[in-house]
């Protein structure tokens, strides 16, 4: 069931300043970001990042503003070069690649969606969507069918001859998405792609992305500072703080076992009933004795509560497809809704 690793980041450090190598030694010796800034005027962008991003999964990188998310994602296509460390794509270290090979990577293997859309204002929607192919030297007639197909797919059929400024923000980002999809790259990098959109449009775009992903199975690296969005999209969640990873893993696992107060704070305000799935809180093993019904492992707790009509003395059998995989009592369920730091030791 484990998927192959598509992108792998190894011991990545990034320091902004005049003499990053010298600062690197100090950082590796344990100097903090604040000390480094005060004493030598260097900014610690990233510290010892190790992440494996699996093929066909959405890896979400989350953190507050300034935590280094954008810096990290720009290392994947080398818009930024690291101070030390390596980035492996399909097992190859792209740090050793020359300019033309790197260009090939950016044209064919990775595409990017930006927070501020970054469309070309003087080109039509169609030309924008076909930008990756046009960059590879294709003429408009040659990329037109492909670009039109993806524009239709993101819900912009018929907008091809408009200019970006004639579209709303949400529509512009759809063009941004179509532009990334038209390149037919395996990997999509999305830097706060939906952050500039209003909440309803944002939800639409998330649904669209999930729908496309179910079909296309790309490797997506998605950046956000919004936990709800992260939990909705992530197969693998990486939480950054001040340039370092505080915790990474399966989102449900992080939610139930936050590794540090920073993350506990983050997850405190979340609607746990809607986010947590039965799978993460059930007791494993086919149940013995009486149960009052079957629920699916992928159901969220909210739906189970409504299934039980609020009664607390129920016990359900959990099914993964047709096989029973565990059981869940309402008591366990209710307990899982309480964040760990709010629990009173039994």
């Amino acid at each position: 069931m484990t998927k192959p690793v598509k992108i792998s980041i190894r011991n990545l450090y990034k320091i902004f300043g005049d003499d990053p190598q010298h600062a690197l030694k100090q950082v590796q010796a344990g100097k903090s970001k604040a000390d480094l800034l005060n004493e030598s005027d260097h900014v610690l962008g990233l510290r010892d990042i190790n992440v494996d991003m699996k093929d066909g999964e959405i890896t979400v990188i989350m953190g507050l503003s300034g935590s280094g998310k954008s810096t990290l994602i720009r290392h994947l296509n080398r818009l930024i070069d690291p101070t030390s460390g390596e980035v492996l794509v399909n097992g190859e270290d792209i740090m050793s690649w020359d300019e033309s090979r790197l260009r090939g990577l950016r044209r064919q293997t990775m595409s990017m969606v930006f927070q501020k859309f970054a469309l070309l204002p003087h080109r039509t929607v169609l030309e924008n969507a076909g930008m990756a192919l046009a960059t590879q030297g294709l003429k408009q007639q040659e990329f037109e069918t492909e670009a039109t197909k993806w524009l239709e797919r993101v819900g912009l059929a018929g907008y091809g001859s408009q200019y970006p400024h004639q579209l709303s923000g949400g529509q512009q980002q759809r063009v941004g998405l179509a532009r990334a999809l038209t390149s037919n790259s395996d990997i999509m990098l999305m830097d706060e792609a939906f952050s500039a959109l209003d909440p309803l449009i944002r939800t639409d775009m998330q649904d669209l992305l999930l729908e496309l992903q179910a079909e296309l199975k790309k490797t997506i690296v998605f950046i956000t500072h919004d936990l709800d969005e992260a939990l909705k999209l992530a197969d693998h969640l990486v939480i950054l703080k001040a340039g370092a990873i505080v915790q990474q893993g399966e989102p449900q696992h992080i939610l139930l076992n936050p590794a540090d107060p920073y993350i506990e704070q983050f997850v405190a305000d979340i609607n746990r009933a809607r986010v947590l799935r039965v799978r993460s809180v059930m007791t494993k093993g086919a149940p013995e004795g009486k149960v009052c019904g079957d629920i699916a492992a992928s159901d969220n707790l909210e739906s189970v509560i409504s299934r039980a009509r609020g009664a607390l003395d129920r016990r359900f059998r959990v099914m993964e497809g047709d096989t029973p995989v565990g059981s869940l009592t309402m008591a366990d369920l209710m307990l899982a809704l309480v964040p760990r730091e709010a629990r009173i030791p039994a």
């Binding site: 296509n77 818009l79 790197l102 260009r103 090939g104 990577l105 950016r106 044209r107 990775m110 595409s111 990017m112 930006f114 501020k116 859309f117 970054a118 469309l119 070309l120 204002p121 003087h122 930008m131 990756a132 960059t135 590879q136 200019y163 400024h165 532009r179 390149s183 990098l189």
Partner: protein, 343 residues
């Protein structure tokens, strides 16, 4: 006795002073003092220790006149080698000016005026502008200033074309290199603030007054500044996010320059072209002092011979040309702006 005698005496430089040839020409102040008969000019007031007053006290000091004369001699001594290099390099400019002047004045008006109207249509895409051009040129032709106007226009077309030809690449280079920008900006500042007449002085020494390139160079040097500046600025102002997107999709430097940077900087570049054209017009009038043909000659005649009417109408003609050139270029600017207003 001169004011600063004591200074040189106390410094023990008297013998060095006297070793200089004492017999330099008198400075202007000396001359005035003599004719005015007021005797010792230094009495009561302390003159600034300028070259002239120091020379009074110590003959080894140069007079300020020596400075200007030295500059002139220095220039004259490098004139011939300089001319040997610059002359052939700028010869095409003379040809272009002569050729264009020739074409624009010999083509009959019933071809030329429609042609200019066509050009303004292509550039501005506005019937109002075309009408304005027809009206303005018609007015000038009606008062028999057509030939002069065509000469002025010919010079402006050639010079503005060359300004764009060199100015845009220079601006692009500046936008790419901070070092070049640091060097170029003071030069541009100087070109822009130097009074227009000053350009003419060294050029008169360098070329003969009858050559068209003399005024051509003066016009170009004066008018190239805005297009360089605004190209540089325009490219630097291109949205960083869009540039990043271009990089992220693997554009080469060339694709980025021609596909993204220049198109997005075009409104600024066109604003620069507009200013360049207006400044060429201003300079072409001044350059009539060094035989640039056109309406400027008439203005000059108005001043020299006190022909009030000629001068005024020629001046008005220049205003008409200025308005036409400005409106046509502005119309094209507006067209670019509206077709790519970014948000």
């Amino acid at each position: 006795m001169a004011t600063y005698d004591g200074l040189f005496d106390t410094l023990g430089l008297r013998s060095w002073c006297d070793s200089g040839d004492g017999g330099g020409p008198m400075s202007m102040a000396d001359l005035l003092a003599q004719t005015g008969g007021s005797g010792d000019g230094g009495s009561g007031r302390l003159p600034f220790p300028s070259l002239d007053s120091l020379n009074d006290a110590c003959a080894a000091f140069p007079q300020s006149r020596d400075l200007t004369v030295g500059l002139e001699e220095g220039f004259l001594s490098i004139r011939d080698p300089l001319r040997a290099i610059v002359d052939p390099l700028t010869q095409p400019l003379s040809w272009m000016l002569n050729g264009t002047l020739n074409i624009m004045t010999t083509t009959p008006w019933f071809i030329m005026i429609p042609l200019l109207m066509l050009i303004s249509w292509c550039v501005g895409r506005s019937w109002k502008i075309v009408g304005l051009v027809a009206f303005g040129l018609g007015l000038l032709a009606f008062v028999d200033y057509y030939d002069y106007a065509m000469q002025t226009l010919a010079i402006i077309f050639v010079c503005a074309f060359i300004c764009v030809l060199f100015g845009v690449p220079i601006g692009i280079a500046m936008s790419r290199s901070d070092r070049l920008q640091r060097v170029a900006i003071p030069v541009l500042d100087m070109l822009q603030t130097l009074p227009p007449f000053v350009y003419l002085i060294p050029l008169i020494f360098l070329f003969s007054v009858t050559e068209p390139k003399l005024y051509g160079i003066a016009v170009i040097l004066y008018a190239i500044v805005p297009v360089v500046r605004l190209t540089d600025l325009g490219i630097r102002l291109v949205d960083k996010d869009v540039i990043e997107a271009a990089d992220a999709f693997g554009m080469t430097k060339r694709q980025k320059l021609f596909g993204v940077q220049i198109p997005l900087a075009l409104p600024n570049i066109m604003a620069g072209v507009n200013q360049t054209i207006m400044m060429s017009l201003a300079m072409v009038v001044i350059a009539s002092m060094v035989s640039a043909p056109g309406l400027g000659i008439l203005v000059l005649r108005g001043i020299r011979n006190l022909e009030l009417g000629v001068g005024l109408i020629a001046g008005l003609g220049i205003v008409i040309l200025a308005v036409l050139l400005d409106r046509v270029t502005k119309a094209s600017l507006a067209r670019i702006d509206s077709s790519q207003s970014s948000r």
